[in-house]
Symmetry: C2
Subunit: 327 residues, 2 copies
């Protein structure tokens, strides 16, 4: 069956779509009440609130799909604030012509990712627009963080170590090669990273800053953090983890892997003397096996890359188009 | 300037768009931190969480625009749960070709509506897709409700009174006549209704159920509530407020005003003996001047309409297309 405008009317057809598809996969006691808003248990810590829309094309790709991405993206934004992700809303904009089988696959994938991330989808919305079978998802996320947590983009200090939790550019490379119908062996790194952050916090490390490295890649994220904190960052080129496939792809197409986004990698900034302990924790976690101490924070401004040959160049944020609709 | 794909890359152009447009209008201490997620003050009551996407066409119409709608829709969902709306996220999907002037007007309108509703926009996201100048907005909302509040779709009791806070179908009629380029004098009723709900709660009324009457109109909402509560509802046709313009439009086009949606009207269900006090409170409020005691709850199932001539007919929810992209 294909989605038609009547599925977005708010009447019986919308109700049936919600019952037969979203409720089936997302079922939980809060959602199942089907109220105008989800009433949640009282929270002791600080609520952390975020939202992202997902417009990735193609909808399905090696390592994930728009559904998994829509859960991981928002969960990782909360985790980057040191907040335990608890609840998500899921709002769908469906284009006419979308196969309900496709939508069902996406819903099943969202449910699986939410299970892994330990979050419940507690509210949602469905709208239909004229189109050609496309699908856009917005997820908003609500997490809870401890009252004494001070993780922030502005908290980096001179003397801090910069850790990257894994290889750069995998998600970007995957979307690009899929769109070009290239065989590459690449898989998106799309993954929910709260577990990784939780193990670091459990170790009692005094983390200053966490940022998930998405659109714009490492170069953009590094510059945003340098600006927010009023500090300089220096990255060692040969310590930035890159898969062989991304290295080759970047070589062939003349891309800079440092502006290629991920969906399952983070930058972690903490005092240098805690870096080894952090790496030990990360290396034990399935999503942190290739974590690398890749740089440091200094007084000053901007981001510099120390090249393999000892040269030093300014690393600028992504400028121009990048790859459209990567997430 | 027109929106291009580069505005969605996550790089410098996205950053500039956010700084120059969204930050300018939405500025507040939490948003201005520009973190991955907004860290909010601890809440004593229950968090209430909701989300809606807005795809209305045309973007601007008498009485409102997609921006005002995106604030009011989510604020009203929270208010319908008896929750004070506090924080919103705002996520934009922009189509290429959209004029940034248009986007700026929408942002200004969102800021004004947020101010009236007493909410802060604390986080957001911007994506760009190929298209023809369209614009979609998702807002998620976070509110707080008192621990002893039990307002729920399932809480209607036999003997309750059903109050409608104003005229039905104004928003729907406005969108329809705009799309047909008809002169009608209609204005959307789009409005943030927390103030209305707050005055009822301040009066100490024991409200059982509130629902804002949006897509699908009164007929759909009444049936949803009857089903959720396992009760029957009886509505008096001549007590359902209708503006002369909507009555005429419905007559000319053969529409049923009871399936025409609003964006600033609610159904309020509470014990019959409290109905007069509720009406007094509502009539004093600018958004409740035409409030009317329009029906009652009984044991049984379904929704019935008592016609002006004393006949009785089953009132069914909207079936089929309704009006596409009304909100």
């Amino acid at each position: 069956m294909k989605i038609e405008l009547r599925h977005g009317s708010g009447g019986e057809e919308t109700g049936r779509l919600i019952h037969q598809l979203f409720e089936k996969y997302f079922t939980n006691p809060i959602l199942d009440r089907m109220e105008d808003g989800a009433v949640l248990p009282v929270m002791k810590g600080h609520p952390v609130f975020t939202s992202d829309s997902f417009v990735v094309e193609p909808l399905f790709f090696p390592g994930g799909d728009i559904g998994k991405l829509s859960i991981c993206g928002t969960v990782n934004d909360l985790a980057s604030m040191g907040a335990k992700p608890l609840y998500l809303t899921a709002s769908f904009i469906l284009e006419t012509g979308l196969e309900t089988d496709t939508l069902e696959k996406v819903a099943a994938s969202m449910a699986a990712a939410a299970r892994e991330a330990g979050v419940s989808i507690v509210a949602g919305d469905t709208k239909v627009i004229e189109g050609r079978g496309g699908l856009y998802i917005n997820t908003a996320g609500l997490g809870e963080r401890a009252a004494d947590c001070t993780i922030s983009a502005s908290a980096m200090e001179a003397g801090d170590a910069v850790i990257l939790t894994g290889t750069m550019g995998d998600h970007h490379g995957t979307i690009l090669t899929e769109r070009l119908h290239m065989k590459s062996g690449l898989r998106s790194d799309c993954a929910p990273l709260w577990g990784l952050v939780e193990s670091l916090l459990a170790e009692g490390l005094s983390i200053h800053t966490i940022r998930d490295i998405t659109r714009g890649g490492l170069a953009t994220v590094a510059n945003e953090l340098a600006e927010a904190s009023g500090r300089a960052m220096e990255l060692q080129e040969e310590r930035i983890p890159l898969s062989e496939s991304v290295r080759e792809l970047a070589g062939i197409l003349g891309l800079d892997p440092l502006t290629m986004g991920n969906e399952g990698k983070m930058m972690i900034v903490l005092p240098e003397k805690e870096a080894d302990r952090a790496l030990e924790v990360l290396h034990r976690h399935p999503y942190g096996r290739e974590a690398s101490l890749a740089g440091r924070i200094m007084e000053g401004k901007g981001v510099h890359l120390i090249t393999a040959y000892g040269g030093k160049r300014k690393l600028l944020p992504l400028r121009g188009e990048g790859l459209p609709r990567i997430c």
